[in-house]
Symmetry: C2
Subunit: 367 residues, 2 copies
């Protein structure tokens, strides 16, 4: 299949007024210079990528941008490198190459690269443009869209960062072919999340097409990515800085972050922790009487079919979970607030739940 053969490029728009930008989704987009060109300011382009992605795609991107002064910053691969010290290497590269404030950054990689390069773009000379070129499913359906950027601190995940929107997102679905099944499934967790929080038809579509999606069927893949990005774009457009409904995107994330932090970064993939967290949120929602057992079972069944975990690790017990949750940034002065389900396709943020129901969820194992 050649680019644009039977799956045409789709273009979504994230409507943020002056900060609006297009999201291009399709096959073979990575080296299409005309997608980059309108979003590049000046003559200088810094491609930020990692040691895993560089051998696969860096040269193609550099060649496509051959008209520009292109330089590269290659970082080590992995969540544990998403820190201040490695982040500073991007500035080393920019300054050693005499990049001025009319340069553009290109983030070529997964969520970690997108977060670090985006945050560097937000801060270099107080802000330069950047383009997201996500190469993992997780990054294509979630982290590359919406402008959340940042790095970890030893005491907390994503504690240092900025809301900073890219000029464009170029999601080349061919790059997903190089993902292993575990990484691919981790991305599916966020796809399922959109169905759960606000799109019951999409959830039903996923129940029907999950096998095709896991088999990497290009049509199923394109559909899943487009509908995920569309949902994300609508939520972000309505609430860019997470004052309200954007918090719904954190379904499963409070439990999930606790799992990631409690187990040490890198042991559980983010999507795996979120999958388990969504099952736990569904369990708590059922205990509160907000959804019924049949709905909870649908949530668990779909996640189970992806091979993702449906519960946190047994070694994290209630007390430790509560400690980890209380340092999570979603915990406000007003007390713990969680994203819970009112139905499949309808999530809500609530601080008004019975703490004993939460304790019961944390003490239990999946039904």
């Amino acid at each position: 299949m050649t680019p644009g053969d039977h799956i045409p490029m789709k273009t979504l728009h994230l409507d943020l007024g002056q900060r609006a930008y297009p999201i291009y989704i399709g096959q073979g987009l990575l080296d299409r210079a005309e997608l980059y060109r309108p979003h590049i300011a000046g003559r200088q382009v810094m491609v930020v990528t990692n040691e895993t992605v560089a051998p696969l795609y860096l040269e193609r991107v550099e060649e496509a941008l051959g008209d520009y002064q292109v330089r590269r910053a290659i970082l080590p691969d992995g969540e544990r490198y998403k820190n201040l010290e490695i982040w500073n290497r991007i500035f080393d590269a920019l300054l050693e190459n005499h990049f001025n404030r009319r340069c553009t950054l290109v983030a070529l990689g997964g969520g970690v690269i997108g977060d670090m390069a985006g945050f560097a773009a937000a801060c270099y000379q107080r802000g330069v443009p950047f383009i997201q070129v996500p190469t993992t499913l997780l990054a294509q359906v979630d982290s590359s869209v919406g402008g959340k950027t940042g790095i970890n601190h030893r005491l907390g995940k994503n504690m240092i960062g900025a809301f900073y929107q890219p000029r464009a997102v170029i999601a080349d679905t061919v790059t997903l072919d190089t993902l292993d099944d575990r990484q691919f499934a981790a991305g599916i967790a966020e796809v399922i999340k959109y169905g759960l929080i606000r799109d019951p038809d999409f959830f039903a579509w996923l129940e029907e097409h999950i096998a095709a999606l896991l088999a990497r069927d290009p049509d199923a893949q394109a559909e899943a990515i487009e509908r995920s990005c569309r949902n994300k774009a609508e939520v972000v457009a309505a609430d860019e800085r997470e004052a309200g409904q954007r918090a719904l995107l954190n379904l499963g994330h409070t439990f999930g972050h606790a799992i990631e932090t409690g187990m040490g970064y890198g042991h559980w993939l983010h999507g795996e922790a979120v999958a388990a967290g969504m099952c736990m949120a569904a369990d708590l929602s059922r205990r509160l009487g907000w959804i019924d057992s049949a709905q909870q079972a649908r949530v668990k069944a779909l996640i189970e079919r992806t091979g993702l975990p449906t519960w946190g690790p047994p070694e994290l017990r209630r007390q430790r979970f509560l400690e980890l949750i209380s340092v999570d940034k979603k915990a406000q002065d007003a007390g713990l607030r969680l994203v819970l389900l009112r139905a499949i396709g309808e999530a809500t943020v609530s601080g008004d739940f019975d703490p004993e129901a939460l304790a019961a969820t944390l003490d239990s194992r999946p039904i």
Copy 2:
């Protein structure tokens, strides 16, 4: 003299729509809790200060904010500590104290503290409120107003930062009594700058009152600070992100940054370098025929009366100056642009000047 005795508090407003904020100027404001209270979100307050300022004022601020959960981050004093490593100590303090995203930072100190604390506020959990409490003249008339925050990189000054506005600026003029004459004069450089770039009446007022100002006359001091902040607020309100006229505030700064970098941070004070840079900009403007010798002489005479340098150091010769200028962030793709004078009280940004005139300025010594 007791607070508010014969110099009442003045309140200016920086009009930035949703990001608008007040600038309070007066004597004895540092511990007036009612000035802070409306601008503090949540219950948690982190006061960021340095080892020099802490013994002078920290306890008074902490006592005034006794109703809140107040914690402190005390950094080493000096421009050479304005780096990523020291900046991270603010996040250590925030996270060790379990500060959430509804906390507020207070920057108590000079320009370095304001820049670092403001940038930390911009990035902590993707943005929390902060209040500027500037304790140097330079910070009161310039760096605390307008939202430029950031840190240095070994390869360039202020290369990593954000535009991030405080919720309020509380300028207590009593704190200026503890400044030594050299630091005070360095602040006067930025005061003179406002007269030069856009306020000829203020420049004339300074010519008349410079002796009183240097003698720390409270009335003269209050007037100079208020008119400086008013000028700065008007420029920033018209051009928050430096797309146009805000660049005029960089009069003397391209030459000045070259001097600071060329001599090593901390040898020349920022205001000293700016003073020399303004004299050099005036010299170049005269060579271009934009101002006459009498105007240039007025610029030099006023700066000379403050005891500030009126030219760069002799060891920085033309070639080195040009190298240093070309890595300055004001140098764009389009070539070097400088802030120059069309008259006393009227500056302009121009890339359209005879390079030989620039060479002649760099080769010369002051008239």
